[in-house]
Symmetry: C2
Subunit: 297 residues, 2 copies
């Protein structure tokens, strides 16, 4: 799994070595602003899945952490309720500096967990930016968590998040303003096109008290059923695979560019001139692309 994350091995090779076959699992992505209680939700949802006899793989991703993932440690400690349960596997992933690498690694680790037989994979991401969107979109069902009274709570859920949400959770719903948050979400839903035939339900929870978890579990089951019966799951799968291929091609092209820069003096000169300010960045980029078309020495 570490090899996958470091992109040092391809998934098919790893699966073969482990004697595993690719298998379609079911995955739930959970995202929302910091402090919205995502980790506790994941914890309780895991408990509910275990009651149903399902094994659960959890991928906790922090796209903004460049350090050793320390920011997640606190979250993971809260997952202690399942730390001795062999039916639950937790993997924390912090950001690498490689562009787009985190979404790719999340996809591959998710596939590996599915192939290893985990019934449910939960992908939890910290934050609300574009990287988090890219990661959470690798899941079959996307849960967006809001919380009453966190600044302009709904305004912090930017349009990008609203678009990808299959379900909303208003967590900490025992706080004042929960009904207002629900009303605001409903109002904003009208502005954003969702999947045809599916209006994202809004579930109120108090995760710390295990309240509303059964509602969330049932809503997820309904969404999974919708995905299958409507053909939406197949359509999403196609879109995801297409995006993944583009992403992988781009990363390979980028690697080759880096290699070529080491060996091709003309490319290095162009880059140097741009760094000195002697050549406009746009002009340098155009000439580098042209140079890439000539065979390397």
């Amino acid at each position: 799994m570490t090899q996958l994350e470091n992109q040092s091995a391809d998934l098919p090779a790893v699966l073969e070595r482990l004697g595993l076959k690719a298998r379609e699992g079911y995955s739930v992505g959970i995202t929302g602003p910091p402090g919205s209680g995502k980790s506790t939700l994941v914890d309780k949802l895991t408990g509910r899945a275990r009651e149903a006899g399902q094994t659960v793989g959890i991928i906790a991703v922090d796209p903004t952490s460049h350090l050793t993932g320390g920011a997640l440690l606190g979250d993971r400690v809260r997952m202690m309720g399942h730390s001795h349960d062999a039916g639950v596997f937790v993997r924390s992933m912090a950001a690498r500096r490689t562009l787009g690498g985190l979404a790719a690694a999340t996809r591959d680790v998710g596939r590996l967990l599915a192939a290893a037989g985990f019934d449910l994979t939960i992908i939890e991401t910290v934050g609300v930016g574009q990287s988090e969107l890219d990661i959470v979109k690798t899941a079959d069902s996307v849960v967006v968590v809001a919380v009453p009274g966190l600044g302009d709570s709904v305004q912090t859920l930017k349009a990008g998040l609203l678009e990808v949400a299959d379900l909303f959770v208003v967590n900490k719903a025992d706080r004042p303003g929960a009904d207002r948050t629900v009303a605001e979400l409903r109002a904003m839903q009208g502005l954003v096109p969702g999947a045809e035939g599916w209006l994202a339900p809004i579930v109120q929870t108090v995760a710390t008290e295990n309240q509303g978890i059964e509602d969330l579990w049932q809503a997820l089951a309904r969404h999974r059923e919708f995905l299958e019966s409507s053909g939406e799951r197949a359509r999403r799968r196609e879109r995801r695979l297409e995006a993944e291929v583009f992403d992988l091609v781009q990363r390979k092209l980028q690697e080759r560019l880096q290699e070529r820069l080491q060996s091709d003096g003309e490319l290095a000169n162009l880059l140097e001139a741009a760094k000195r300010g002697a050549l406009d960045p746009h002009a340098a980029a155009a000439r580098i692309v042209a140079q890439l078309d000539t065979p390397a020495d």
Copy 2:
């Protein structure tokens, strides 16, 4: 400017058409979690700069908004204090779907504002993700805004943000817990390497009351002086130009891939096979890259 944002024109061409010459300005990037009062800070900082006789260009960027930038409208309305001031120019930019396009567009619009003679450019981004980091790093001085009592306030400022911060602002410092937030920031500073010879100061503000704005203004002046005298500004400029060239090359390669997919049936077949699940995404990507090396028909 709209042409620049849409990447339909290169900056040198636009500048030439406008009769402008490239000119180095000074830019401040401001980022922090939603609800931390960034817009009010920008507003007050703009007022202070105007008192000093400086003209101010403001670029407000929302990387997560895929809609028409509606989420920013509320923020921009708060900027009304300067709406009739010809020395202040505000440009809102919402996310485009093009990968990395927003940081590139921010850089170009920033250069255009500098060339147009604005003394100070303020780049404000909403949120705390990787895209926001990429955008805010295009500025000379980076201000990271925290706020007391917003969840685990400092935990929401992930390591990536701590690394790029030249100054911290603890805004809404009249709230309980401000001193604790300052202490937490100081503790975390020890963990993160900053620029040599510069320890990011922590400024407490109550932006709505104009408190601490003078301290922030003075701290920014000191950082600008440090950038010049230490040679750090030149080093950063080189790093930024290098990153920009890589970014532009990559975007050009991506455009060419898209064009090639339209015209090359073999490429389209490989992509189709991956979408159907008949070909593993990694294998498809490898074969597409190989196919790109053969001349197009």
